[in-house]
Symmetry: C2
Subunit: 461 residues, 2 copies
């Protein structure tokens, strides 16, 4: 008797992950049939023409094949890239082919600590940093510590990134959704959070932690300093740990907006009684090195014994991949100000950032011109989460599927992220190249008009 | 209130992983104090002077930094390495920086299928192959499907590789240990397996699957074809899935021995009613590319809906790392017979294999000369699991810690792998370079004599 689907654990079967769900499967099927598909379902910049930073790839190539440092003719690599590769190879001790420490290479954790220190002006401890296969794995490890059964609740935003809902379900815990305020740029309100906690407690669920995504996915919003401080106050009041998903910290587009890390306010506000887990990744920002699966979690106000449990969980599958750890190192260790690589590195980053900002504006402004679609300002991250007006009885999954079938544009239904009862949305990335993105927005506009017209004027009464 | 250790889930706290457990932590502490430690605790070849295969690293470097293919002067890279790198970059579609398919790059899965087909003379389906961050993650994903609570039992060998016990505990399932027959070269006996199943059933545990490690870790033994066939018969009789950990398939040292894959006997024996999950890795064999975390699982006789669950679990953390997938591709796609790289690739592999075989003999013969230590033939994998006679009341953890403190040699206690009641063992890798390994064996010999002498002649009566 072979394994049957009925034999698979309930928690596995109930886990849902919309970003790569049925609509994406259908898109891949259409592509195999020869249709052209524009993938706006996932924040995967290099799949949509963004080029990797040269600095990263030069150092990585040299570190993978160190003989090249001696064999390459002068001029093939800039000197500072060779020097960085030598530091990398020395830091790894045995090169990229050996298992690393369970927590990740020590020299990378030191570089990450220095990066946090420089970013926030606060001390940071390399021993409280864990390198992981992308931030997703880091989030899963921390949730694994906190969720042991249906009585353990985790506060997650509505809308949220489905990594959170999927992982909480997989571990058999309880989701405690709290609404983001769509009418006020997807900001957080303390009273909504308090209400969510009260509802959970009334249902016998113990709130263990609050997840905050800043800048927001799918919301595309940058949280204010006041919002970040409020979450820390709330966490203190209710004994919650804070999971701060800060993978989009470099993706802030609106002049005047500023990314404020949870770690900085935790330290400056003296929140010694709040445990914080902050996540960062090589996949977003201006790198977009998604495939390399680099990421980390930094723990603060977490006892050593609990951190040892993270190390243990990491150790069971040995360590995060070495190349991803090196990309993480290079993310936080740019070329020096006087090095030959510096000017090119600055130019590449500036071009990517300006282009992302331009594309955020194209999506926001373009969609807001469509009757029946309303889009909050896209001030950060890589997404818009516009609201759509739909005919009675029609859901956003149906709308997204029809959009895919009729235009080849692949977006994700709002229902995959969570949304206020009776409202409908979709998530699109801002990542297609600007020219193409303009066309995407226009096709969405004409599709939406045609789609809603079908219901307004039924063929037979 | 911060997170406390008492708040962490029981299943997490009860998970134990000896290979990187307290003895290794102590070794690292000693090293920080300036002591020299010989790490024989983990199969990490490149940390012990094994060099990466040049072919792998040349192609990987070019794929990470494709501009190099055009910019490198002729002769810096062999032509076939450049051609392979072009195939890789084309196969990835968007380079190594984009997310891959949740199951892994299609072209790599096709290459793995071709490799299995060539190895076993059986058909293989790329859609039944899932690329993972090392084989460990693949094992964890399959166990995740099969284990949903304390009533789900998984048969694991005694001694076993603690990935299995750790993961089953973490998922809240039941371990069903079955003994390997130490008196007969760590082989499997059907009656022991039947007895283990009967005991589990009597305890209310439903046996779901059997894990077999071949060649064995920590046993160092290669299973006979008859043993593999017997496991398939047993699995059919009891409705078990088979998890075949075949990561050491290239590490077979004794002339006349041969690795027989579960897949080959499954197909040739017509076991259509047995679900098989076979695991392979880039970390072992003659590559030793542990840090790159490349691996795969191939599923057979597994319904599409169950395979979809694997894809879904993979998709929640998006995909396995791209570089590890490329190393997997290169493991199964050697340089062509007429290419410039072929001769060097063959020479490097031959040298590694001969050296491993020599080192297996040094460990086996050396330890068998020590009074009070008995070691089965090390015919495969990278480990010996010798039995040690200890004074009454002394355990192998104590012995291993004393060995570390007195000699700087880091091995893992048998208790971390499981062993017959009243017997004691340790696991050592065969990986230090031959000269050093000889010294390791001699130091273990004199340590063991001194250690046991202390108990034989107590200072005070």
């Amino acid at each position: 008797m072979t394994v049957r689907i009925e034999d698979i654990g309930r928690s596995v079967r109930e886990t849902a992950y919309a970003v790569r769900g049925p609509i994406v499967a259908r898109a891949q099927e259409l592509e195999r049939q020869g249709r052209r598909v524009v993938y706006c379902n996932i924040g995967n910049p290099q799949a949509l023409s963004q080029r990797p930073l040269t600095w990263i790839r030069q150092v990585l190539a040299l570190a993978e094949y160190p003989e090249l440092m001696d064999r390459a003719p002068p001029g093939l690599f800039p000197e500072d890239a060779v020097a960085a590769a030598r530091r990398v190879v020395e830091g790894t001790q045995h090169g990229l082919g050996a298992y690393t420490d369970s927590k990740g290479y020590r020299f990378v954790r030191e570089a990450v600590a220095a990066f946090i220190q420089a970013r926030d002006g606060i001390p940071a401890d390399p021993e409280a940093i864990f390198l992981t296969d992308g931030a997703s794995k880091a989030v899963q490890t921390v949730l694994r510590l906190l969720v042991d059964g249906p009585g353990d609740g985790i506060l997650i935003p509505t809308p949220q990134y489905p990594l959170y809902s999927a992982t909480i379900t997989l571990y058999g815990g309880a989701q405690i959704p709290y609404p983001l305020d769509e009418a006020h740029g997807w900001s957080l309100r303390r009273e909504s959070l308090e209400a969510a906690i009260a509802r959970a407690r009334a249902a016998g669920v113990r709130p263990r932690a609050i997840c905050v995504i800043n800048p927001g996915n799918p919301s595309g919003a940058v949280l204010s300093e006041a919002n970040v401080a409020m979450v820390l106050e709330l966490a203190r009041a209710h004994g919650l740990a804070v999971l701060a998903d800060e993978v989009y910290q470099e993706n802030v587009y609106r002049p005047g907006d500023r990314f404020v890390s949870f770690a900085s306010l935790l330290v400056k506000g003296g929140f010694r009684d709040v445990s914080l887990f902050s996540f960062h990744s090589t996949s977003k920002g201006l790198l977009g090195e998604c495939g390399h699966r680099g990421g980390y979690v930094e723990a603060r106000n977490v006892p050593g014994k609990v951190m040892d449990e993270i190390t243990k969980l990491q150790s069971v599958a040995l360590c995060a991949n070495s190349a991803g750890q090196i990309v993480t190192y290079l993310m936080v260790s740019p070329p020096g100000p006087d090095g030959a690589s510096r000017a090119g590195w600055e130019r590449e980053r500036r071009e990517i950032k300006e282009s992302l900002a331009r594309r955020a504006a194209i999506v926001e402004e373009g969609l807001n011109r469509v009757p029946g679609i309303r889009c909050n300002p896209v001030t950060g991250a890589m997404y818009a989460f516009p609201r759509i007006e739909l005919p009675p009885g029609v859901g956003d999954a149906e709308w997204c599927l029809a959009l895919l079938e009729e235009t080849g544009i692949c977006v994700v239904p709002g229902s995959g992220f969570g949304q206020a009862e009776g409202t409908f949305h979709f998530r699109t990335t801002i990542l297609p190249p600007a020219g193409e993105l303009q066309a995407v927005v226009e096709r969405i506009a004409s599709f939406h008009a045609a789609f809603t017209a079908r219901w307004k004027a039924p063929a037979t009464p």
